[in-house]
Amino acid sequence: MTRPPFSLTDRIARLLPQIVVAPGFAAILFFVYGFIIWTGYISLTNSKMLPNYSLIGFRPYERLFQMDRWSVALENLFVFGVLFILAAIVIGCLLAVLLDQKIRAEGFIRTIYLYPMAISFIITGTAWKWIMNPSLGLETVVRGWGWESFSFGWTNDSTLAVYALVMAAVWQSAGFVMALFLSALRSVDQDIIKAASLDGASPWKIYIRIILPSMRPVFMSAIVILSHLAIKSFDLVVALTGGGPGYASTLPANFMYEMTFRRNEIGVGAASAMVMLATVAAIMVPYLYSELRGKKHG
């Protein structure tokens, strides 16, 4: 590699890795970064049905934050995000620890817990919407068993619709968190555990004091991935609640779609997309940075 490039073919051969990476990288530059700039620009214009390129400053953002629909979407995202992440992690972690107790048929049970990940949010939403059907769904069945006050028609109740989203999203993702934790549990250093149990620590204590704390990176990954999923959530709302009743269960992604494709408010739609991007970046950039750095040192 010290020999200077002489012929053209030689030079091409040396540059081949760059040449191979170039088209894909160029596509990413254009379709990701170029588009972000484009959307950012449009978010500063008065675009309605078609893009309009004369800048008007931050007025679309002002309008965005004055809209009740947007505050509802943000509030929903907060409630949905927090509950979804918490529940998915608690349930996923619990299932992983339980499955780690030398369970017979572990593989089979794992398959059951994880299959929702293969399904789209549209299917999940459709199925749960049917189960929550107020007249023919689970509510009627359970009331028929004698529990008269049982209520499961969440999708039609403006205060409960968000919780319907949380429930279905947790159903879809808890198995994934379980798989994540299970593989981490199995890579914990066995010698430390043996030493602790020789010292007389109870299995319970070993979990709480040694195993779970050593899994902090996995907790971090799970939180980051789940919050990313939460911010992007779009299909589930479409299929399960349609954002309703009214716009009670709208999330930012649905707000953006509504403004852009249905209400001819491209400028406001672009502004909402930029706010979403900023939120994701605030979570992802420090995470990716520490991951990539950690890799170099490790």
């Binding site: 195993i211 979403m276 991007l277």
Partner: protein, 295 residues
């Protein structure tokens, strides 16, 4: 897990109780996970009368596939009453090329970035990686404009382009993380023997790649088949992928609501990815964790 950390060292009564509690929790969750599948399959096999008259959880009186036939070839989606069949093939035609293109791009990029480290390779990787996490809302508007300019709006080619580009971010991550674990010495030795970039890829890297290729293909297929946002944003009418058509079928049926057809449609739509999961679940899990544990 280590023997010492399990809850099973003895045969005391409290241990039995713990074991029982453990199984109860596991089974309750299994029921929760299986409930939608049971209800959807059950409903799709009933007729409307049985759905209205009977319990949601009751088994169907007889196995009746007419709702399936209806969903596949007769149900109305918008004004077209062609069932899901044409949309199913739309999705197949969209998914197969996108999976191949994005996997190929990811493999080559991952290989070049790990085994032929050039100046700035890490920055290039970081910038591609961020593409995995960009909320797509930020790209759909300019994408709609671009597809219009090229003249492939509302075609399968438009969706292939979209899925190949954004899928490449994930496949690059997969292959890069996998190729990092292949010793550089292998490549160095081959370079000394005079082998070039593509020869080494073909002779050394590709033969070692089947596991990660399977992971990438499964992940991409699932993502693309299950996509709704791009399909809904860039296609209308007859060009829609099945996920969008299925949602329209469920939400816009006029007249009597045919729950059994809705559920059959959901099952038909979910079948390909479920099938992949059942035959290759192991790789499926690996894809999920590969995308998350360590960038």
């Amino acid at each position: 897990m280590a023997d010492s950390a399990s809850f099973t060292p003895g045969n005391t009564g409290s241990n039995l109780a713990l074991r029982l509690a453990l199984w109860t929790v596991l089974i309750v969750f299994a029921i929760w996970f299986l409930l939608p599948a049971y209800v959807v399959v059950g409903t799709s096999l009933k007729d409307l009368e049985e759905i209205r008259g009977g319990s949601l959880l009751a088994l169907p009186h007889e196995i009746n596939f007419s709702a399936w036939r209806h969903a596949w070839s007769e149900a109305c989606i918008g004004v077209e009453c062609s069932g899901l069949e044409p949309y199913f093939w739309n999705s197949v035609g969209m998914a197969i090329p996108s999976v191949i293109i994005s996997t190929l791009l990811g493999a080559l990029t991952g290989y070049a970035l790990t085994k032929w480290k050039f100046k700035g390779a890490n920055l290039v990787f970081a910038m591609i990686l961020f593409g995995c996490f960009v909320p797509f809302q930020v790209v759909i508007l300019p994408m709609a404009q671009t597809l219009g300019k090229i003249g492939i709006t509302n075609t399968v080619y438009g969706l292939i382009l979209v899925h190949s580009v954004y899928g490449m971010a994930f496949t690059t991550l997969f292959f890069r993380n996998y190729y990092v674990t292949i010793p550089d010495e292998l490549v160095r030795a081959a370079t000394i023997d005079g082998a070039g970039f593509f020869t080494i890829f073909r002779r050394i890297i590709l033969p070692l790649s089947p596991p990660i290729i399977v992971v990438s293909v499964i992940w991409q297929f699932t993502q693309i088949w299950n996509d709704f946002l791009f399909g809904a944003s860039f296609t209308t009418g007859g060009a829609q992928p099945i996920m969008v058509a299925m949602n329209n079928l469920v939400n816009t049926t006029t007249g009597v609501k045919q729950y059994n057809v809705d559920m059959a449609a959901a099952l038909i739509t979910a079948a390909p990815t479920l099938f992949v999961y059942i035959i290759a679940g192991r790789y499926f899990v690996r894809g999920l964790t590969a995308g998350s544990v360590k960038g």
